[in-house]
C-alpha cells in the first residue's frame, strides 16, 4: 500500500470562483447540466452524477447582525471507514492503494444502496449509464503522480493535495493561526484519524460549526447498526417462533 494521500480544503481561502468545479468537469469529461436556481450562486443544490466538486454558498447572520457569507468547496470525503464501500453488495466500490475510495464502473450494477449509505450525500446515480458515480480523487492523475484536477486549478490554494500526514500537520497549524487571528469557531473537520469514520481523506478547515456548512456534526458509519439491528431481529424471530409453536402444539383430545 502506497502512502495515503489527502485533499485539504481550507474554506477561509475559498473565494467561490468555482474553478475547481470546472476543472473537475473538464478533466473527468463530465457533461454540462441544466443550471438550477438554488437562491444563491450555488449550482447545483446537491452533488450530481456529473458534478463531483460542488462549491456551496451559505448565508448566515453573524454576531453583529450583518451577513456572513460562507463558501465551501465540497467533495467526496474518501472516508477511512466508508459507508458506500461497506454497503456495496457487488464489491464495485473499493479502496485504492492510496487510501481513496473509488467505484469500479465495470462492476457497479446500479442498485443505488451506496447513494443512501453515504453520510454526506455524495454518491449520485447516473440515469444514463445506470451506475453510481462520485469523485474518483482523479484516480488516473494519481496513478501518474499528479494531484486531483480541482486542487491543481484552485487559484487561492483553498484546495491542497498531498500526503495525508503532512497535510494534516499543515491543517492543524493553519487552524491555530486562524484562531489567533480571531476566528473563534475555526475548526478542522475530518482531519483526526481517531475521530468519526476513522478520519476523512478529504478534510476541511471550517470557520464555523459543521452544520452551518450542511455537514453532519457527528457522521456515523451506517454499518455500525447492523449488529444491534440484527440481534433485535433475532429476538423478534424467537417471539414469532414461540408464538407459532404454542399455536400448533399438540393439545391432547381437545379437538
Amino acid at each position: 500500500m502506497a502512502r495515503t494521500v489527502a485533499m485539504f480544503t481550507d474554506v477561509s481561502l475559498c473565494i467561490g470562483c468555482r474553478a475547481c468545479q470546472v476543472a473537475c468537469k473538464q478533466w473527468n469529461q463530465l457533461e454540462a447540466e441544466e443550471p438550477e436556481w438554488t437562491g444563491t450562486y450555488q449550482n447545483h443544490a446537491h452533488f450530481t452524477d456529473k458534478s463531483y466538486r460542488l462549491v456551496r454558498f451559505f448565508e448566515e447572520k453573524d454576531d453583529k447582525g450583518g451577513l456572513q457569507w460562507n463558501l465551501m468547496s465540497d467533495v467526496c470525503k474518501h472516508c477511512a471507514q466508508a459507508g458506500c464501500l461497506e454497503a456495496c453488495p457487488t464489491g464495485a466500490i473499493y479502496r485504492t492503494q492510496y487510501g481513496t475510495v473509488n467505484i469500479n464502473q465495470d462492476i457497479c450494477n446500479g442498485c443505488r444502496y451506496c447513494v443512501s449509505a453515504c453520510p454526506f450525500g455524495v454518491v449520485a446515480f447516473n440515469h444514463d449509464t445506470g451506475r453510481a458515480s462520485k469523485c474518483t480523487f482523479c484516480n488516473d492523475r494519481l496513478h501518474n503522480g499528479l494531484g486531483p484536477a480541482c486542487a491543481k486549478a484552485c487559484p487561492t490554494e483553498s484546495i491542497q493535495f498531498g500526503f495525508r500526514d503532512e497535510l494534516a500537520a499543515k491543517a492543524r497549524k493553519r487552524a491555530e493561526e486562524l484562531k489567533k487571528m480571531g476566528y473563534k469557531n475555526a475548526q478542522l473537520y475530518g482531519e483526526d484519524q481517531n475521530g468519526p469514520l476513522g478520519g476523512l481523506n478529504a478534510f476541511f478547515l471550517l470557520l464555523d460549526k459543521p452544520s452551518v456548512y450542511g455537514l453532519p456534526e457527528k457522521p456515523r458509519l451506517p454499518q455500525n447498526n447492523v449488529l444491534v439491528d440484527s440481534l433485535l431481529s433475532i429476538g423478534s424471530a424467537l417471539l414469532v417462533g414461540i408464538g407459532a409453536m404454542v399455536a400448533f402444539r399438540e393439545r391432547g383430545g381437545k379437538e
Partner: protein, 308 residues
C-alpha cells in the same frame, strides 16, 4: 442538517420487501406446523409452502428490473476480479463474495438459498399429494428447518438494510428489522388463513390455530413499531425530529395513522379477538395484508424525503 441525496427506491422495492416478508413468514409457519404435527396441520403446511414459493418467484424479477444495469444482477454474488479491499470482513470464495456488513449482499444470498429451499418444500408437498402413500416427511423436516432460518432472514433483512443507511429515520430506529420480521409473520399467517378460508378448508381448527399466531404476532408488530418510533424520537440524531414529523404529522401521516395503524393493524386485531365468523376473519386477513404493505411503504417513503 446533513445534506443527503434522494434514495430513489421505487414502489418495486416496497413490493419486494412485502413479498419477501410474506414468503418468509408463510414458510416459517408451515415449517412449525409440519414439525408439530404434519398430518393434523396438513392444510397449513401445504398452503404455507406453496404460498412461500409463489410469493418468492416474482422477487428476483422485481429486484433485477430495478437495477440500473439489470444484466449485471449476478454481480450481487459474483465478481471475477474481486478487489482486495471491498469492505470489512469480506469473504471471497472463488469468484463469490460474502459481505457480512452489507445487508444487500447477504440478502441476495438469502434470497437465492430461500428460493431453492422453498422450491424443494413445495415440491415435496406436491409429490406426496400426487402419489398417495409416498412419505417425504423426513426430507421436508430438513428443508423446512434450514429454509425456516432463511425465511426469517429474508423477512427481517430489509429492515436491517434500511437501518444501515444514512437516512435519519432509518439509521436511528434499530427496530426496523424486528418490525419487518413481525410484519412478515403477520402477513404470512394472514395470507395462509385467507387462502384456507377461500378454499373452504378451515376445518379441524386450523383457522383457530392461525388466529392464535396472528394475535400475538400483531401485538409484536405494534410493539416493534412503537419501539421503532420511540427509538428514533429519543435518539437525538440529526434530522430525526423533521423525519419523524413527516411520518407522524406531515404528508405521510394519513397513510401512516389511517392505513398502517388503524385499518391495517387495530381493526384486524380487534376483529381477530371479537369474532369467529369466517367472513369477518377473511376481511381481517385482507386488512392485515394491506396494513403490512402500507407500514413498510410509508416508512420507506417518509425516510427517503430529502430534508433541507
Amino acid at each position: 442538517m446533513p445534506l443527503l441525496q434522494r434514495a430513489d427506491w421505487p414502489l418495486l422495492i416496497d413490493l419486494y420487501f412485502f413479498l419477501a416478508g410474506l414468503a418468509g413468514g408463510a414458510f416459517v409457519i408451515a415449517t412449525i406446523a409440519h414439525l408439530l404435527g404434519g398430518e393434523r396441520n396438513r392444510s397449513v403446511v401445504r398452503v404455507g409452502y406453496y404460498l412461500a414459493l409463489l410469493a418468492v418467484i416474482p422477487c428476483p424479477i422485481l429486484l433485477i428490473v430495478d437495477l440500473g444495469v439489470p444484466s449485471r444482477f449476478l454481480h450481487m454474488l459474483v465478481s471475477f476480479k474481486p478487489d482486495p479491499a471491498i469492505g470489512a470482513a469480506t469473504i471471497n470464495i472463488g469468484p463469490f463474495h460474502i459481505k457480512p456488513f452489507s445487508p444487500m449482499n447477504m440478502g441476495a444470498w438469502a434470497l437465492l438459498g430461500f428460493s431453492a429451499l422453498a422450491f424443494l418444500a413445495a415440491l415435496s408437498v406436491f409429490l406426496e399429494d400426487a402419489k398417495r402413500g409416498r412419505n417425504l416427511s423426513a426430507l421436508r423436516t430438513t428443508v423446512g428447518v434450514i429454509g425456516g432460518f432463511f425465511g426469517f432472514f429474508l423477512a427481517a433483512y430489509p429492515g436491517v438494510l434500511l437501518g444501515a443507511t444514512a437516512r435519519p429515520l432509518f439509521q436511528n430506529g434499530s427496530f426496523l428489522g424486528a418490525l419487518f420480521l413481525a410484519v412478515g409473520a403477520s402477513t404470512g399467517a394472514a395470507a395462509i388463513a385467507l387462502i384456507l378460508s377461500l378454499l373452504g378448508q378451515e376445518a379441524g381448527g386450523t383457522v383457530g390455530r392461525l388466529r392464535q399466531i396472528i394475535i400475538p404476532v400483531l401485538l409484536l408488530q405494534a410493539a416493534t413499531l412503537a419501539l421503532f418510533l420511540l427509538r428514533v424520537g429519543m435518539s437525538g440524531g440529526e434530522g430525526t425530529p423533521q423525519s419523524l414529523a413527516l411520518l407522524l404529522s406531515g404528508p405521510y401521516s394519513l397513510i401512516f395513522w389511517v392505513g398502517a395503524v388503524a385499518v391495517g393493524l387495530i381493526v384486524p386485531f380487534v376483529l381477530q379477538i371479537v369474532t369467529r365468523q369466517p367472513g369477518l376473519l377473511a376481511i381481517s386477513a385482507v386488512l392485515i395484508l394491506v396494513g403490512g404493505f402500507l407500514v413498510k411503504y410509508v416508512i420507506i417513503a417518509a425516510g427517503q424525503v430529502v430534508l433541507s
